[in-house]
Amino acid sequence: MAIATGRAGEYTEPATPWWSGRRLRFLVVLVLLALFYSVSWRLAQVDPGKLVTGLPKMAGWATKAWPPATDELPVLLLRTAETIAMAAIGTTVAALLAIPLCIVAARNVTPSLALYYPARWFLNALRGVDSFVFALLFVAAVGLGPFAGVLGIALHTWGSTAKLWAEAIENIPPGPREAAAATGASRLKVVAYALFPDVAPSMASVGLFWWEFNVRASTVLGVVGAGGIGQELKNSMDLLLFPRLLTIILIILVTVTVIDHASEWLRRRLE
């Protein structure tokens, strides 16, 4: 239907009947969403009453936790350093392993589709298993301690970094690469010379993000026995040493905040 101009130079607006497909679809989505949340509410066993009765207990812990314990500060700081080191080594190993994988897993530069799909499956499998779960397995294999955490972080981050890097590579405009390939240069030369400079800043940014993320994640890894400050956290919780627990939580807060800001500052400088 053509939109004709009516009287007095006014345009006739295209009419939308209330039963139009768009509105029906909107209604269906609304009903489905309501259903989804009501089922989820029940499955998650949400019970605000329990929270209300539990809060005083937590308040009791909080009063018992003050003042935070300082006598073991050197040990706790050493454990924190352990956590940061785990994250740094794990992330770096993951990044090195991700370099070849991300090239194979990027559709626009992969040497062959026969490698591309297995590479995608492989990194999705690595990504699908959390570093926490990997660490659990490695504690059983290599024993308690930060090394298990390093391995857990490295495996999960390997997949995650490779995926994000592959996506960064796929988002690079093809022009400069085609220009280099048109000179008769081999694929490896084209990737190293024409693609890498364009993608390096976003790769570094992703790498920093994962280091920062892993520092946060590895505070928890200790809970499964994979070393670091998380292990002290669990011990204190088990023994109900609340002042010590508070000290640990404060140390984690400060560390994570400092590293978040440092990483953010670095990433901003890369852009």
Binding site: G175, P176, E178, A179, A180, A182, T183, G184, A185, S186, L188, K189, V190, A192, Y193, A194, P197, D198, A200, P201
Partner: protein, 250 residues
């Protein structure tokens, strides 16, 4: 033409669908030191012609020989042929974060060992050649400037220097000045002109008739996939060329 034939296409035919003919029995020979302008309205087959010449699109019929290599007789021959051809793009396609000099060195990639490329350590001879090419296009003073800091015209001249550094026999330029202002267009075409002076063959598709007349030795006009004009610039009259656009645009 008197000079050595650098590139020759014979009977090129390409259909994208049974009823969409991009090229219809096109013959084109380009000699060393010749500047050929390809004119024609959008959809006339210019881009398909360029893609066939570089081995990016396979013609349904016909042959392409570049520098003595048959483009369609296998990957080895294709690579040999490609080394002899340098491409210039409408969108320049420089590596934004590398300097002008490093971009010109892209022209050397096929000639140096892989480790030199990965470490970005080129020989003194290659660096000197690249600087000479930048000097040729008048951008020696911008050698250390990052590509994304250069103007459009300067970027296209760096792209020409990159093509020169390839020591190519033939430079193909698909609408090299379509996204440039008139002044930059003139300097870019002047740079191509001086490459021709050094014995390189240039084939450039252009949209502006007056630019073709000012810079090209020969004008080839395409319409609906057929060559409708192929003559020395001096012998063509303006009206004939302008009709190519009019009839098709109607």
């Amino acid at each position: 033409m008197a000079a050595v034939v650098v590139a020759a296409a014979r009977g090129l035919t390409k259909r994208y669908a049974p009823d969409v003919t991009a090229l219809d029995d096109v013959d084109l020979a380009v000699g060393a030191g010749e500047f050929v302008a390809v004119l024609g309205p959008s959809g006339a087959g210019k881009t398909t012609l360029f893609r066939c010449l570089t081995g990016l699109t396979r013609p349904d019929r016909g042959t392409v020989r570049v520098d003595g290599h048959d483009v369609w007789s296998g990957p080895r021959e294709l690579r040999q042929a490609r080394r002899a051809v340098a491409l210039i793009f409408q969108q320049f396609n420089l590596i934004r974060r590398l300097t002008a000099l490093e971009n010109v060195l892209v022209g050397r990639l096929a000639h140096v060992p892989t480790w030199r490329v990965v470490l970005r350590r080129f020989t003194r001879a290659d660096r000197q050649l690249a600087l000479r090419c930048l000097d040729t296009v008048g951008l020696l003073d911008k050698a250390a400037v990052r590509a994304d800091q250069l103007s459009g015209g300067q970027q296209q001249r760096v792209a020409i220097a990159r093509a020169l550094a390839q020591n190519a026999k033939l430079i193909l330029a698909d609408e090299p000045v379509a996204s440039l202002d008139p002044e930059s267009s003139a300097t870019v075409l002047q740079s191509l002109r001086s490459a021709v002076g050094a014995g390189v063959a240039v084939v450039a598709s252009l949209h502006q008739v007056h630019l073709a007349r000012a810079y090209a030795d020969r004008i080839v006009a395409l319409r609906d996939g057929r060559v409708v004009e192929d003559a020395a610039t001096a012998r063509l009259d303006v009206r004939a060329i302008e009709q190519i656009y009019e009839r098709s645009g109607a």
